[in-house]
């Protein structure tokens, strides 16, 4: 019998609504799964990694069992009293620990905030709870979201891929993707700044959605790159992701950049198919670009065959379902996405990290210091890990008065050009008139733990196929598109114009339906046995 924690959020919510299951049963099922697969939560002082640790997922930093139980009981009580619960009533979800939640530790996976208990709750979390969802706890991420593997978390053991625990989960929403993949919570709230929802979703074989910038409020999201950060859903299937976006999207008086564009019901029309939609394939997404340290040049490498094949197979399925596939769509500035991102995100990150000074909250050096500057230096020196330090150094450098024109202003121009690429192919009166682009999500499938970590530049290039959507502010969705030769999930990505989430869901759902009977669909993450 399928356990409750393996059901989709839609199915689970329906069963709870019609009395087949109680919210507390769903909670107990999720907690049992956590107990079975998660192992010990991340801590600042983990000691040695045991063999058992290496076989576990370690998605969580903080389990909020009491809060969850109170919420689940409240849902059951409402149901018993005949009240109409929210659309996600009783569905357990997890929250990337970059969102603040009142009364819970909100750590950003950094020593800097290890002792920080937030006095308020982030808007998207509050909206999930208002929709009846039950927060299970806070899940791990790269420190301050700065990474693509979760290895940089100050809270160790870091998450491990449920499909193969010797592999990374991706990042930075790695705890989210792992928790969803392993059935530890049907949904998770993540954030995407260069690909931080879509890349781990691809690595862990789940659906991840980076909505249009401003579609979901950032209030309560501890900022990384404020002009890029997007909260969004991770879920096991497309419909669940749409349900979750329904709950969290919309304007927020507390976030001036949260747009007032009306939120449609993303599940309406999700089964309507793709007939007549124009879906583009771009050769600029079928090659990889890396920076060569020795030659200081960008060099091209081919996309791995398995990944290319998965995208082509998806194009065929969508074509079979009635979509018009448009080939050879030029996206010439894709290759500059990472270099421009390196500059813009670091400038914003360095500024956003200014507030962590040991004065008001969070870590403060235990050493005796004789002046304020020494307190700042020691506090920040001791509490920030290598990634925040690198990003501060680079951000301060490229925004300095004498370099800003050369780097920061230049990067902003590149960002406009990237936006221009998308504008022109989505232009309804342009040459391509695309409804969406179909691309691979990642350059590789989940890589082995330790393989890339330490090379910050190479790690950053893991986001090269996702980052352009963040630059442009457009929505992107990653969904499972098969398994590679080693049995690891492959992610395929859909990118669309501003506020086209509904049509991305429709296309993704069509692909999901077309591949329902594919053999790879029945594969399960190894940790589930």
């Amino acid at each position: 019998m399928t356990e409750l924690c393996d059901l989709s959020a839609a199915e689970l919510a329906a069963r709870i609504r019609n009395g087949e299951a109680r919210a507390v049963d769903a909670l107990d099922s999720a907690l049992a799964r956590v107990a079975a697969v998660d192992g010990r939560p991340g801590t600042l002082d983990p000691g040695d990694l045991t063999a058992d640790d290496q076989a576990k997922v370690h998605a969580f930093i903080t389990l909020t069992v009491e809060r969850a139980r109170a919420q689940a009981e409240a849902v059951d009580k409402k149901l018993a009293q005949g009240e109409i619960p929210g659309p996600l009533a009783g569905v357990p979800f997890t929250v990337k620990d970059i969102f603040v939640v009142e009364g819970t530790p909100s750590t950003a996976s950094s020593r800097m905030l290890a002792n920080f208990v937030a006095p308020y709750t982030a808007t998207p979390v509050a909206r999930m709870e208002a929709a009846g969802a039950v927060m299970l706890g806070k899940v791990n991420l790269d420190e301050f979201t700065y990474g693509s593997s979760n290895e940089s978390s100050a809270f160790q053991p870091h998450p491990r891929n449920p499909w193969d625990t010797s592999r990374v989960v991706g990042g930075s929403s790695g705890g989210s993707a792992a928790a969803v993949a392993a059935g530890e919570g049907a949904l998770s709230l993540g954030t995407d700044t260069a690909g931080s929802i879509r890349q781990p979703a691809a690595f862990c074989g789940v659906v991840g959605v980076k909505p249009t910038y401003g579609r979901v409020s950032r209030y309560g999201l501890i900022a990384f790159g404020s002009s890029l950060d997007c909260p969004g859903p991770l879920a096991r299937d497309v419909t669940d992701a749409a349900l979750m976006l329904n709950a969290i999207a919309g304007p927020d008086a507390r976030d001036a950049t949260a747009v007032t564009v009306p939120v449609p019901d993303y599940t309406a029309g999700i089964e309507d198919g793709v007939k007549g939609l124009r879906i583009g394939l771009s050769p600029d997404f079928f090659k990889l670009t890396y920076y060569n340290h020795e030659s200081s040049e960008m060099e091209e490498r081919p996309l791995p065959d398995d990944i290319l094949a998965a995208v082509m197979q998806a194009a065929d399925k969508l074509s079979d379902a009635g979509a018009r596939i448009v080939e050879n769509v030029p996206m010439p500035h894709t290759r500059y996405g990472i270099p421009a991102y390196f500059v813009i995100s670091r400038v914003e990150a360095a500024s956003n990290l200014h507030r962590f000074d040991g004065v008001k909250y969070g870590y403060r050096t235990a050493d005796k210091v004789d002046d304020l500057r020494a307190m700042y230096r020691k506090t920040r020196g001791e509490a920030f890990g290598p990634q925040p330090k690198l990003r501060i150094l680079m951000g301060m450098y490229v925004s300095a008065a004498q370099y800003s024109e050369q780097y920061y202003q230049q990067a902003l121009k590149v960002r406009s050009l990237i936006r221009g690429d998308f504008d022109s192919v989505f232009d309804a009166s342009g040459e391509h008139k695309l409804d969406a682009l179909l691309t691979p999500t990642t350059p590789t499938t989940a890589f082995p733990i330790g393989d890339v970590y330490g090379d910050s530049v190479l790690m950053q290039y893991a986001d090269q196929l996702t980052v352009t959507a963040d630059h442009a502010g457009i929505p992107g969705l990653s969904l499972p598109g098969g398994l590679d030769a080693g049995g690891l999930p492959i992610g395929i990505q859909l990118l669309g114009p501003d506020f086209s989430e509904a049509s991305l869901f429709r296309i993704a759902r069509t692909y999901e339906r077309e591949t329902e009977t594919a053999a790879w669909r029945s594969a399960r993450p190894k940790v589930l046995g």
Partner: protein, 478 residues
Amino acid sequence: MTEYEAIIGLETHIQLNTETKIFCGCKADSWDDAPNTNICPVCSGLPGSLPAPNRAVVEKAVRLAHAMNADIQTESYFDRKNYFYPDLPKGYQITQYDKSIARGGHMDVPMPDGSTRRVGIHKLHMEEDAGKTRNEKGRRLIDFNRCGVPLIEMVTGPDIRSADEAAEYLIRLRQLLRWLDISEADMEKAHLRADANVSIRVKGETVFNTKTEIKNVNSIEGVRAAVEKEIARQIQAYESGEKIEAWTLDWDENTQTLRKMRSKETEADYRYFKEPDLLAVHLDEEWLSGLLADFPELPLARRLRFIEQYGLPEYDANILTSERSLSDYFEAAVAAYGGDAKRVSNWMMNDVLKLLNERGLEAGALKLTAEGLADIIKLVDANTVNTPTGKSLIEKAHDSGKTPQEIVESEGLAQVSDDSAIRDIARQVIAANPDNVEKYRGGKDSLIGWFVGQVMRESGGKADPNMTRAVLEELLKG
């Protein structure tokens, strides 16, 4: 002897009198509140919090920019100014840098000698205030109440030429800020803060020499005194061949002295960049025209008009336009009175202002209406009441809320101008004071005033003083 001139620029920070702070719903004014009681996640810079702009701040900035003859920018941006300080909780200040809400501008400041100084405006932008740091017993205490209080920073060009001109500019700015309800503009409460950049040069030269910056002055008189001192110091230094260095000077109000705070280091790099948490401030046509519709006549223009239209002396016009409701009151009273505006001005300057000052009120709070004041003057003109009674009616009308006519009737204050009634009282007074009658008749004419006073007293103040005098003179002749 070499003549020098001073080159002065003023950097002002104006605290706006909005209800709430610039980016959150906390109360903006914390003057009477305990430290750290008007704070929230936004203004205290908690992780994850975001600024939500207050429209009222933009509106006040637009009105000030318009009054300063600046070019209002329909699209402006906020920027981050990054630096570390314990009372700056985000580690950056949200301000406007290269695309601020207004460009250019000037104010023509009338000087006491009748000349006018045009003071150019170099910068006018919105920003948030930081908190306050206090050192106490070796501890550094921080009050975040002031974080996020809305400010307009306004910087003049190097156009001011003396300490008195600097003070006049600030007096006119304060008047304007209150006139437009932008700020309480009280320097003692730091609603209006002014730092002065001062340099000197030999008169006739066009170079700009090294300047010093005077900080922490909290009154207009303080600015005048501090700038005067600094000009004198620089002249003396220059004449004795010392180099003038770019110091920052701290004004000590108690000792009236300037103290060197620090030598100005090389300009800090604040790494300005556009605030990604806020959208551009876009002033659409409707919003802008709504803000500038019915823009009030400004104090300096009204002052000139009072001189021209009503023939008022400059002195009267200055005082009557010192505050907006006072000038409105004056004009309404003149209109209701219909006669000589100078006569209304005299009543305002002598009697109405006396009451306002005693009670600490503005004219807008008077219960005696401008029409009521006009009625009082008319009652006096018509000899219905005498002048002292008329003056007493101002306070009585304000305290009771009744009209002057009602008070005159209910208290029987109408002047006695009945010849026979006055004659009766005068006879009694003469009969009761034979000594003084004799002295008067012996040539001590000045005693007439004493006799008038006696009759006035006996009549309960109601006797017409002119008629009383005439009757007494007649009777005393014998």
